[in-house]
């Protein structure tokens, strides 16, 4: 059956975020006829409410810290505060430029872009405002939205989500951040640099709890030094409004007062009322289930991005979207090794990793097979110049390939590309060590760590 316009698309994509637009761009490039349906803005969470605006704030935060600390570098600078309208203008300027570029790409590749809220109405069709878009194949990419805890209502004013936090018209005096994961520590980091009194509450025993424990501990040490407070292993029990803010209660009896509470306890899939169940798509707690080729149990339907239970990262969405497009175009595709996907948390200092943690490696291979090396950035000239502390930790199995790279330090996220090649190409430490890295970069710390693991440390004790 054709759609109302008489066309059967090769692919109809529901949701124009990282996963959806990557699928659309790649499919169009491969000659497929594509419809892309988006109810809000092309680019989705990442471009408008996620990756990009938060990283702009983090850069402004870096500039604020630098201006505060100029004297220690011999530069006479002063920091007089944040100009909130101007910081928002900067942030929106970055987003606007990238948004325009993305719109240009989508239109130049001949994609049929449909503005509106879509609903899956058959295994091969999506309906938008009464118009039916029929496709040989449908890709679900409706993404995710902020979650809360049972009984904790986000009012958008004093109890806010990351969406609200990005729209604040002021720098609050104080804030409680509920959740010490990626989004929580990034906002805590920005706010501290902006002069806010911040406390993070995390139920698990560590900040960034999915990272290697060594990274968590280094981040905690750095945050403590920065005066960012945190309550670890502490469960939230409730929040009340006070005269001019909120009071958060923890199960351990502690109470924390602040101007606002940011709820950063995770994001849940957008899948309710969209016809997915009705069309027989298998789901679990709201996530759409897929095989390693991103195909659901309904052969004409695939799903990508935050909607499926893989890592909630923009580049995972890109990768999954590209994979689906190539599969639908008949190319041979290779499933994604999710351990090999780089992860970066952009707080100050940054945390980055690829591969598996030491704990996981011991579980899989046995503790006696695992060797680790920690290269301290104290021995790295450029890190000393930046006055940053941190480490690069490598996890090796059986004297062979490196199965985990875990890094903490200012700007260290940019090192994850080389780490990603090392992990995914199963390089031996000696093969990395043989290539002498550029001096004096932070990058050479990665080289030094591999020199150490290969048994030939240069600027580190044996």
């Amino acid at each position: 059956m054709a759609n109302d316009a008489g066309t059967v698309f090769d692919v109809v994509i529901l949701g124009g975020g990282s996963g959806g637009y990557a699928a659309a761009l790649r499919a169009a490039q491969l000659g497929l006829n594509v419809a892309l349906i988006e109810k809000d803005k092309l680019g989705g969470t990442c471009l408008h409410y996620g990756c990009i605006p938060t990283k702009a704030l983090l850069h402004a935060a870096e500039l604020a810290d630098n201006a505060r600390e100029g004297a220690g570098f011999g530069v006479k600078t002063t920091f007089e505060g944040i100009d909130v309208p101007a910081v928002n203008k900067y942030k929106e300027g970055v987003t606007a430029r990238l948004y325009k570029g993305l719109q240009g790409l989508v239109s130049s590749r001949g994609i049929t872009y449909v503005q509106g809220e879509g609903k899956l109405v058959s295994p091969t069709a999506v309906e938008v405002g009464g118009v039916r878009y029929e496709g040989r194949h449908v890709v679900l990419a409706t993404g995710s939205v902020p979650k809360s805890l049972p009984g904790l209502e986000i009012d958008g004013n004093r109890v806010i989500s990351s969406n609200d936090a990005l729209k604040l018209d002021r720098v609050p005096k104080s804030a409680v951040v509920l959740g010490g994961g990626v989004i929580g520590v990034e906002f805590a980091s920005v706010w501290k640099s902006f002069g806010v009194d911040v406390t993070i509450v995390e139920a698990l025993p560590h900040l960034v709890p999915v990272e290697d424990e060594n990274s968590s501990k280094l981040l905690e040490r750095a945050f403590r030094k920065r005066g960012i407070k945190f309550e670890l292993g502490s469960r939230f029990s409730g929040v009340e409004y006070t005269a001019d803010g909120i009071r958060v209660s923890l199960e351990n009896g502690k109470q924390i007062e602040a101007e606002l509470l940011l709820v950063a306890v995770g994001r849940g899939p957008v899948s309710q009322g969209l016809g997915y169940e009705e069309q027989g798509v298998a789901m679990d707690r709201g996530y759409v289930l897929v095989d390693e080729y991103m195909q659901t149990n309904v052969p004409t339907i695939s799903a990508v991005g935050d909607l499926v239970p893989t890592l909630q990262l923009a580049h995972v969405g890109f990768g999954e979207g590209i994979l689906v497009a190539e599969r639908l175009a008949g190319l041979k595709v290779v499933p994604i090794d999710y351990n090999g996907v780089p992860r970066v948390t952009y707080c100050e200092p940054e945390v980055a990793s690829v591969g598996i943690t030491e704990a996981k490696a011991k579980e899989i291979y046995g503790a006696d097979k695992i060797k680790t090396v920690n290269f301290n950035l104290g021995g790295n000239g450029k890190s000393q110049i930046l006055k940053t502390a941190g480490e690069i930790k490598l996890v090796q199995v059986d004297g062979e390939a490196v199965v985990g790279v875990h890094m903490v330090g200012a700007r260290i996220g940019e090192q994850v590309g080389e780490a990603q090649l090392i992990y995914n190409w199963e390089a031996l430490p000696s093969e990395v060590a043989q290539l002498i890295h550029a001096h004096p970069t932070q990058n050479e710390a990665l080289g030094e760590a591999h020199l150490a693991l290969a048994g030939k440390p240069l600027h580190a004790h044996d």
Binding site: L421, W425, E426, A427, L428, E431
Partner: protein, 59 residues
């Protein structure tokens, strides 16, 4: 020494193994692959190098 050896073609292998082959003076095209899907492994390259490359050309 690198300039004449590269690029070393479409033999299926992982990038670091290409470098190993170059360091050992092994032509990947002559190595018998034992890895999955015809992939040349590190071991294949080492064994080939130890066996001694056949004389390249009768001079």
């Amino acid at each position: 020494p690198a300039a004449n050896g590269r690029p070393s073609g479409r033999v299926l292998t992982k990038p670091p193994v290409r470098k190993l082959a170059r360091d050992l003076g092994v032509d990947l095209a002559e190595v018998r692959p034992t890895g999955p899907g015809g992939l040349v492994t590190r071991e294949d390259v080492r064994l080939h190098a130890e066996a001694g490359a056949p004389p390249a050309a009768a001079v």
